[in-house]
């Protein structure tokens, strides 16, 4: 009689365990796919091709005279080499026909887009390697898929505040609010 009761208690926990495991699997495996929409860049830009030409990040991603970071190069910059199609890559033709010649800016999807209340200065971080924070794009032949959070609108890849804070803490830099939020 006593043995039967113990056995029933063990089986009795099974629904709980199943629910628990199912929720954990759904939360870690299915949920991320549900909350992000996948987008591709308007031009299939290859960083690798450009790196193989001997170019470095700063050739296109420049600082302005006032020290602010230009970010994505403008059509004017791209047109220095691609005012017309010079290679065989179909992506180049897309750029030239759709943007370079029409004067329309390429609507690049910015992986690291931050809200307006974040003041990040690339100039202050100039001594660091680009790859300290960004993926090593020199090896990247196809632009990574852009995952956009359906609720917040931000990119999955954008840097989070805790990442900034951790690096600041590890390097003895202040984490006071006003350092990044003006």
């Amino acid at each position: 009689m006593e043995e039967k009761k113990q056995c029933k208690g063990c089986w009795g926990a099974l629904p709980f365990v199943i629910g628990f495991v199912a929720a954990v699997i759904a939360g870690w495996v299915l949920y991320p796919d549900l909350i992000y929409s996948k987008k591709t860049q308007p031009v299939n830009f290859s960083h690798k091709v450009h790196a193989e030409q001997g170019m470095v990040c700063a050739d296109c991603h420049t600082f302005r005279d006032d020290g602010s970071y230009a970010g994505i190069p403008t059509n004017e910059k791209c047109n220095e080499c691609h005012s017309d199609v010079v290679g065989t890559n179909p992506a180049e033709k897309v750029y030239v026909d759709k943007y370079g010649k029409t004067g329309k800016d390429v609507p690049w999807l910015i992986y690291q887009y931050q809200p307006d209340n974040v003041i990040f200065s690339h100039k202050a971080h100039e001594s660091l390697e680009c790859t300290s924070c960004h993926p090593d794009m020199a090896k990247n032949d196809v632009p990574p898929t852009y995952y956009q959070n359906k609720l917040s609108g931000y990119s999955k890849q954008t840097m989070r505040m805790w990442q900034c804070e951790r690096c600041h803490a590890e390097n003895g830099v202040s984490n006071a609010c006003h350092v990044c939020h003006k």
């Binding site: 629904p15 629910g19 929720a23 954990v24 870690w28 970010g71 809200p115 307006d116 609108g153």
Partner: protein
């Protein structure tokens, strides 16, 4: 083994517990927090390079040299241009909010054709321009049938307007909105001189402003403020003394070293009584009419002064002593609201400069040579008819234009006896308004043509009133394309001229300004880069204007009426522009309460009128009446009611429409004895408690 109710509950509880070990809740909360900050109504600037682009903002009368701050090519703020001598880094309260005004909901978005009372239909530019030509064509060559009113005091656009009218055989129809410039130029003529007067505030060590609100709304106010600031360094002794003699404590008198409360009806008497006091302490000059002047001034005895101003005669003695002790005194005559005073009021004030030997001297009054023209067929700016006088003629049928071109002006709101002026506009069959904003005049026009905002156009400013030296500024567009479907009015007029068979020698306003710069001797690129061209004032002497002053009538006493002192605060807008939304917070609780405007008077005047703080009153004058609340303020001259300009708009936007009342409705136009000029600075009103 089946799943019973208890088992199902356990499954759900397990699921909830499991969820706590996943990112679902925590990530969801984080994302929701970020989502909650994505408010769609927050203006977002594009990411891009930040630049400071030199520009000329002509939203204020004198024009401000600014540096428009842009990011990614989009303007977001305007700051003063430190490299420009007219700005020295300063900016007026209107131009400080100029970028917001570029995006104002009151802007005319595209050409509009009137289709009914207060109803407009959007039309294409081609149709609008064709309509303009069609309406002007039958009137060509009929003098008096086409008129134009310009609200721009300084632009070469006036030359185009004037030359166009002359070419169409309607030279007499060129009118300008009232301002100090026309009055002063006529005053100089009465003193035997010619040209626009200037005032070297920077070089003076004693500045007496009689009425002229020089540190807020009069003349090149930013340059004036910079001169004041330079003479009043923080923590150090002032190197110049500034005295304001005017009807009420305003922004100018608020910072001056001394304020003398003079009713607007007594500025002439004040000036002549001061002349009398100066002569009595030894002031003399070599002007040929000194003897006559001395005799005239002698009539303004301390008793006459006290009766006219309500002040003690000791004030005069004190002022005369200070002026005599100064090395470089300067007197600036004007009206407290920059218009409406007569040429004789100007002569009375300016004659003090002649008496003190301050004409043509450093820190004194100067005379500017006539500016070279870009269009030879254009009339001189001083030859323009006063729009107030012209519209009075239209009201009485003495003038009967069939077409009126309104350029950057708002005569329906900002002419004295505004009610009559609005009715008179109805007598004109076709009215075309070149307007940046849907103001009261545009709301009456048959055709509304949107003008670009200053940052979307070429424009220039020649000799803003008050500058001591010939001064020329020019600006080019900051934006490649206007934010609305606007076209430069001058470009439109030049194209219309061509279609009317008239060649003015230019196709665009940019070309006109280039020609103007060349004629002046300035470099266009340097000017549009933010610099100013300055020349030298011309020499010459002036008489004391005794012959003209002798015709000035003696002030009349009227126990039933009180003097009306319009007060101008640049932050509350101009005659052409309603209060910018950015400046609404500068309006005090004692100036506007809800939709009711306050009028100010001192306690003695309030007692005389039988009113008290907060009472609602009706002021009647001219051909209209306004309602307001009473605010007792000892900073107002005796027997005077002071009222702010810039309120009571029936057009514009939600921020300004229907707030307060329009003082122009109760200003009374009268003829100045001896000159025939229309004046309204000494208006009186009757007050009744309601």
């Amino acid at each position: 083994m089946g799943l019973d109710r208890r088992g199902f509950v356990k499954f759900v509880v397990g699921g909830v517990a499991g969820t706590l070990f996943t990112p679902v809740i925590w990530k969801g909360m984080d994302d929701a927090a970020k989502w909650s900050q994505n408010w769609g109504w927050i203006p977002r600037l594009p990411k891009g390079e930040r630049k400071a682009v030199p520009a000329l903002s002509k939203l204020c009368k004198s024009g401000c040299a600014v540096k428009v701050q842009t990011v990614g090519g989009a303007p977001f703020a305007a700051l003063g241009n430190p490299d420009n001598p007219m700005s020295k880094g300063g900016v007026c309260p209107i131009c400080a909010g100029s970028v917001q005004l570029m995006y104002s909901p009151a802007r005319v978005a595209g050409p509009l054709k009137k289709v009914g009372e207060g109803k407009y239909s959007p039309i294409k530019w081609e149709e609008a321009e064709a309509m303009l030509v069609e309406k002007l064509t039958p009137l060509k060559g009929q003098d008096g049938k086409i008129a134009a009113i310009s609200g721009d005091e300084t632009g070469t656009a006036n030359e185009v307007l004037s030359a166009l009218l002359a070419g169409l055989g309607n030279a007499s129809g060129y009118c300008a909105m009232p301002g100090e410039m026309l009055t002063a130029t006529r005053g100089v003529k009465l003193m035997g001189g010619a040209g626009q007067p200037g005032f070297d505030i920077e070089g003076a060590d004693f500045v007496l402003m009689i009425g002229a609100d020089a540190l807020d709304s009069w003349g090149a106010s930013v340059a004036n403020q910079k001169a004041f600031a330079a003479s009043h360094p923080t923590g150090e002794a002032a190197t110049a003394r500034f005295v304001y003699a005017g009807p009420a404590l305003n922004n100018t008198s608020g910072v001056c070293d001394q304020f003398v409360a003079v009713p607007p009806t007594a500025t002439g008497v004040f000036a002549l009584a001061l002349a009398n006091a100066l002569i009595s302490v030894g002031a003399t000059c070599s002007a040929p009419d000194f003897a006559d002047y001395k005799a005239l001034a002698a009539k303004c005895t301390p008793e006459v002064f006290e009766k006219a101003t309500g002040l003690k005669a000791e004030v005069l003695k004190d002022l005369a002593g200070k002026i005599k002790a100064a090395k470089a005194p300067l007197v600036i005559p004007g009206a407290s609201f920059g218009q409406g005073s007569g040429a004789l009021d100007f002569v009375a004030g300016a004659s003090l400069n002649v008496l003190l030997g301050r004409v043509g001297q450093k820190g004194g009054m100067t005379l500017l040579p006539a500016a070279p023209k870009a269009l030879s067929a254009a009339a001189d700016r001083a030859e323009a008819k006063d729009a107030g006088s012209f519209m009075a003629q239209v009201a009485t049928g003495k003038a009967a234009p069939a077409a009126l071109i309104v350029y950057e002006a708002n005569p329906a709101y900002a002419l004295p006896q505004a009610g009559d002026m609005t009715k008179a506009l109805g007598n004109i069959a076709f009215k075309v308004a070149f307007a940046t904003y849907m103001d009261e005049t545009a709301s009456l026009a048959d055709l509304v043509l949107p003008a670009p905002h200053p940052y979307e156009r070429f424009d220039d400013a020649m000799n803003p009133y008050g500058v001591a030296k010939p001064t020329y500024l020019a600006g080019k567009p900051v934006l490649a394309k206007p934010v609305v479907d606007a076209k430069d009015p001058v470009d439109v007029l030049l194209a219309a001229a061509g279609k009317l068979g008239l060649s003015l020698g230019f196709e665009t306003y940019a070309d006109v300004i280039k020609a103007k710069a060349k004629a002046v001797g300035a470099d266009m690129d340097t000017l549009t880069g933010g610099a100013a061209w300055t020349g030298e004032p011309k020499g010459g002497s002036l008489s004391l204007g005794a012959a003209a002053l002798a015709k000035a009538p003696a002030p009349k006493a009227d126990d039933k009426a009180v003097a009306l002192a319009p007060l101008s605060k640049l932050a509350c807008g101009t005659t052409e522009l309603a209060c910018p939304p950015a400046d609404l917070l500068t309006i005090r609780d004692t100036e506007l309460k809800g939709k009711d405007l306050f009028v100010q008077m001192n306690a003695a005047t309030a007692k005389k009128l039988g009113v008290a703080e907060g009472n609602k009153i009706k002021l009647t004058g001219g051909s209209g009446e306004v309602k307001a609340l009473v605010h007792v303020n000892e900073g107002v001259a005796a027997g005077t009611v002071a009222m702010l300009m810039g309120f009571g708009h029936s057009a514009w936007d939600q921020y300004t429409k229907g707030k307060g009342d329009n003082i122009f409705k109760i200003l009374t136009v009268s003829d100045e004895a001896g000159t025939g000029m229309k004046v309204w600075a000494g208006s009186t009103v009757t007050v009744a408690k309601i």
